[in-house]
């Protein structure tokens, strides 16, 4: 993509000149532009724009047919929110040029096969929907479309295939019906009835073990979190009952009916769904996120019901707009707010619901979370009189339902809300939430407020937070993020390490060498040492304690100071943390001194992993240790753990990439040698190079295996610890005849789920080991259920 400059007025300028010089490229760009922007910013109606464009393209067909085919196929795949605009265009072209219509259909089928082969299932849905709407434009004959649907639904009869495969084929058929159900029923009602009955049978026997893991709330009220196929089925049933009358979709082709019905139609070639391949990646099941209904929009148009097909179409289109424009928040906001038909629906509510639906989607949001924050800010800017109120209403509702909200979703809500507030001077009616002060602080509502205030503080400063909340909220205000130094003053003089802490401190300030400092530390008494331990080699926690406390105290001023300290004394730290005990202790000390500044703990742990002072397993063991049990439900603990897992994953990927690159180099070298001919010298050099590469590959292979082993071990440690903690709790509750479901338990189980969900790609590799070693049938069913739900996501 070429880099373009734009003016300094910073809003993400949308105007750019293309630096293209060739003629054909210019024409291609201009055709693309004409097609992609049809109807935009025009004073004439969409219909007249389409008519004009059809004329232009028809004239261009003799010279640019292939380009036009390519562009139209691409918009079918990439602009699904404008589906009916482009099916109309294709319809008009087909009416004027039957052969072109036929070639377009063929090109679409080719493209459909390609997308399926490449695991691009979401785009394939848009292609099939496009084809089905072409029935409405008299481009494709209805019976041939029904035949394609019949082939799709027959996938439900396949045996030994993952459920997500047949799910997809059923989903495609159902999701086309809002557009084409009426037409297909008019032409082929018997076949369609049979089709729907087959689908109904499939949906009844389908397994939904995965559902609890994907739901944002565990409660059924006020809005059940429905499985996506169940919801769509209900919507289609209702549409059928309404005799396929659908009034929401914009259908420009209706205006051209007299022209289009004169056109000759094409038959879709028989399309056999490609067979199941072992490396196929079908889309994961989803849950339909709902937070609003018709009672929520106080005035104006009524929100379509949860099982109305309008709801489906609106949500689909809004998701598609975000998928197209997520990189440019101003365009995205503008496109969302100019949704066609917006006057008949409470658009702001739909937009807010769809955005939160994506933000809270499990396992992960479709886009990076900060995108949604900036998009909502942009929307508030464009609709300052209405959107902020809807957003406030939504926030209030989300707060009210925190008790049953999934922990991962609460994390995202905390991050979104605090970041959002920081853009609006932290203005919020905290008093409205005074109810959270009356319950145990470990309950979800006060916990949420506490975590939000902590994050707000990180984006500002402690006094600011004190100022913005009512005094009644003081219990929820975060601690002031100051260092806690054990050897701070003479009151500590009785402590064993006190004297040496002063000596070491002075040595550091006077820029003593590492050897000098190690010598000072050598005199440290070892509380762990047995009297008859001659060698004195056993681990000395006091050494670590005194050195690190003193060092971090001197470097407490900022992150940079602390990083610099870790770097300067890296040698000493590695020396002190040679053993697993050492690594664990260093983490303990970091926590002790910075326990009021979780942000600092997180960045120090990150730095220590990256500079190999501690390893990932040590961090995991530390977080699960008894010493940290009282912090176990705090958000920063899980941020550290997930960040640690991600670093491990990236490390493995990096070495794997190096291995692949070395293998490629070797292959190229071997080809070169084969092609180089008889030159003896060249042959010898080549052999040498190959030898070196082979050695390198062997080393890298070992490195990969070692890294993967470390990665597997990390997950084993984490899962083992979870199982131990949960089992303890369950046994304790059983023997005490106490209810298992405490806030701690809910948090712990959902944190376990979170590990599976956030790292499912990596964990997939180790399923065998996990099942054999940890998640065996002997496990308590509460814990095993989490594992089984996770497995169900892939089946």
């Amino acid at each position: 993509m070429s880099r373009r400059r734009h003016s300094d007025s910073y809003d993400g300028g949308q105007d750019h000149k293309r630096r293209r010089t060739s003629e054909p490229a210019k024409i291609e760009d201009s055709l693309e532009s004409l097609i992609c922007n049809v109807g935009e910013k025009s004073k004439s109606s969409l219909e007249s724009n389409l008519e004009g464009l059809a004329g232009v393209l028809e004239a261009d067909l003799p010279n640019y047919k292939n380009k036009i085919l390519r562009i139209l196929c691409a918009v079918a795949r990439l602009l699904p929110e404008k589906l009916t605009v482009y099916t109309t265009l294709v319809g008009l072209l087909n009416a004027r040029n039957y052969n072109f219509g036929g070639e377009f259909v063929e090109a679409m089928i080719r493209q459909l096969k390609e997308t399926l082969k490449n695991n691009l299932y979401n785009e394939a849905v848009y292609l099939v929907r496009f084809l089905s709407d072409l029935v409405n434009c008299h481009v494709i004959a209805a019976p041939s479309m029904v035949a394609m649907f019949e082939n799709f639904v027959s996938v439900t009869q396949e045996e030994d295939v993952p459920q997500v495969r047949s799910d997809w084929f059923v989903y495609v058929v159902l999701s086309c019906l809002p557009w084409v159900g009426k037409e297909l029923y008019e032409k082929k009602d018997v076949e369609m009835d049979r089709l729907l009955s087959q689908i109904e049978g499939y949906l009844k026997r389908r397994v939904k073990t995965h559902l609890p893991m994907l739901q944002v709330w565990t409660a059924e009220k006020p809005h059940p979190q429905e499985e996506y196929l169940d919801c769509l089925w209900a919507q289609i049933q209702k549409l059928k009952k309404d005799r396929w009358q659908e009034r929401h979709i914009l259908r420009p082709y209706i205006a051209f009916d007299s022209v289009l019905c004169e056109a000759l139609q094409h038959n879709l070639p028989p399309f056999t769904p490609p067979g199941h391949m072992p490396d196929a990646q079908y889309p994961m099941p989803r849950v339909i996120f709902r937070m609003f209904d018709y009672t929520d929009a106080p005035e104006g148009p009524v929100m379509p019901g949860s099982h109305s097909v309008e709801r489906f179409v609106i949500e689909e289109n809004l998701h598609c707009i975000m998928k197209t424009h997520w990189r440019e928040r101003r365009t995205c906001a503008a496109q969302l707010l100019s949704y066609p038909g917006k006057n008949k629906i409470p658009l702001n509510y739909h937009i807010v619901e769809v955005i939160f639906g994506e933000l809270f989607q499990l396992p992960s949001a479709p886009h990076i979370e900060v995108m949604y924050t900036s998009l909502l800010i942009e929307l508030c800017k464009l609709q300052p009189g209405s959107l902020p109120q809807v957003l406030a209403q939504a926030t209030e509702m989300l707060y009210m339902r925190l008790d049953t909200m999934n922990t991962t979703c609460i994390d995202r809500l905390i991050n979104w809300f605090s970041h959002h507030l920081s853009n609006f001077q932290f203005r919020w009616s905290w008093d409205d939430w005074a109810d959270c002060l009356t319950v145990d602080l470990e309950k979800p509502k006060p916990k949420f407020v506490k975590e939000v205030l902590e994050k707000c503080m990180r984006l500002s400063y402690h006094q600011r937070i004190v100022d913005i909340v009512p005094p009644t909220f003081s219990a929820l205000i975060p601690a002031e993020p100051i260092f806690i130094y054990r050897y701070a003053d003479e009151s500590a003089s009785s402590l064993p390490g006190y004297a040496i802490s002063i000596t070491v401190g002075n040595a550091i300030k006077n820029r003593a060498s590492n050897d000098e400092i190690l010598t000072i530390l050598k005199d440290m008494p070892n509380p762990n040492q047995d009297d008859d331990d001659d060698e004195g080699e056993s681990f000395n926690p006091l050494k670590v304690e005194v050195f690190l406390q003193t060092l971090l105290h001197l470097a407490a001023k900022s992150f940079s100071h602390s990083f610099s300290a870790l770097g300067k004394f890296h040698e000493i730290l590695k020396n002190l943390t040679d053993s697993d005990e050492g690594k664990l202790h260093i983490l303990k000390v970091v926590y002790e001194v910075w326990r009021n500044h979780p942000q600092m703990i997180a960045v120090l742990v990150d730095k220590m992993i990256r500079t190999q002072i501690v390893d990932c397993a040590a961090v995991a063991n530390w977080l699960f240790s008894q010493d940290m049990a009282h912090e176990f439900t705090r958000l920063y603990i899980w941020e550290i753990l997930h960040s640690t897992i991600r670093k491990m994953n990236k490390h493995v990927q990096k070495i794997q990439k190096e291995l692949e690159e070395a293998k490629d180099k070797l292959e190229k070298q071997q080809h070169k040698r084969r092609d180089s001919g008889d030159d003896e010298d060249m042959e010898k050099n080549s052999e040498d190079e190959e030898g070196q590469l082979e050695e390198q590959i062997e080393r890298l292979q070992e490195k990969v295996e070692s890294a993967q082993s470390e990665q597997k071990n990390l997950f084993l440690v984490i899962f083992q610890r979870f199982i131990m903690l949960l089992t303890e709790h369950l046994v304790r509750c059983e023997t005490g005849s106490v209810n298992v479901s405490t806030p701690w338990y809910k948090n712990c189980v959902e944190r376990l789920q979170q590990i599976f969900l956030m790292h499912h790609v990596t964990i997939q590799q180790y399923m065998g080991t996990l099942e054999n070693l940890l998640f065996t049938a002997e496990l308590d069913h509460h814990i095993l259920a989490v594992y089984q739900q996770f497995c169900a996501l892939q089946l």
Binding site: E328, I368, M371, T373
Partner: protein, 157 residues
């Protein structure tokens, strides 16, 4: 097969601006080449009181931050309202350009732009008084950036 439509792949928030570092050693196109592959962002319009911690918290939302260098007044060696944020990957820096540029930090609208990469010396303001050039000449009163601009301060005395 994966056809891309240029008309649809607009990503203007990650373009670099018209600013070119006058102290850059090399030709203009060399500077542009570095900007196109850079992982480092310049961040401007910070308050003098904004801390490294605040910058880290905000910019971590688009990815793992490798390093932050707070811009300093050359004379006073105190923060003078800008910084550099370096990411481990280009992609994370691009997300910052798309979603953090033009939003608020410490109640101020901050501005990010691509930077050729930190080199010793670039952490200092280049204004005559030691701060940033923009604080030499501005006429408005900004309590978070030392009050009036340096030139305006002299006139007031």
């Amino acid at each position: 097969m994966s056809v891309k439509l240029n008309a649809l792949s607009s990503d203007s928030y990650i373009d670099f601006s018209n600013y070119r570092d006058q102290h850059f050693k090399g030709k203009c196109h060399e500077q542009e080449k570095l900007l196109e592959s850079s992982h480092t962002l310049y961040v401007g319009n910070l308050s003098f009181y904004t801390t490294e911690e605040q910058v880290h918290e905000l910019f971590s939302k688009s990815g793992d931050v490798k390093r932050i260098i707070i811009g300093l007044d050359k004379v006073k060696k105190t923060a003078c309202g800008f910084c550099f944020v370096e990411y481990y990957t280009r992609a994370d820096a691009e997300h910052a350009m798309r979603f953090i540029n033009g939003t608020r930090l410490d109640d101020r609208m901050i501005r990010t732009d691509w930077d050729t990469g930190f080199k010793e010396g670039r952490q200092y303001g280049r204004g005559k008084s030691g701060g940033q050039v923009r604080d030499e000449y501005r006429q408005d009163y900004d309590p978070a950036r030392g009050g009036y601009g340096k030139l305006a301060q002299q006139h007031r005395v």
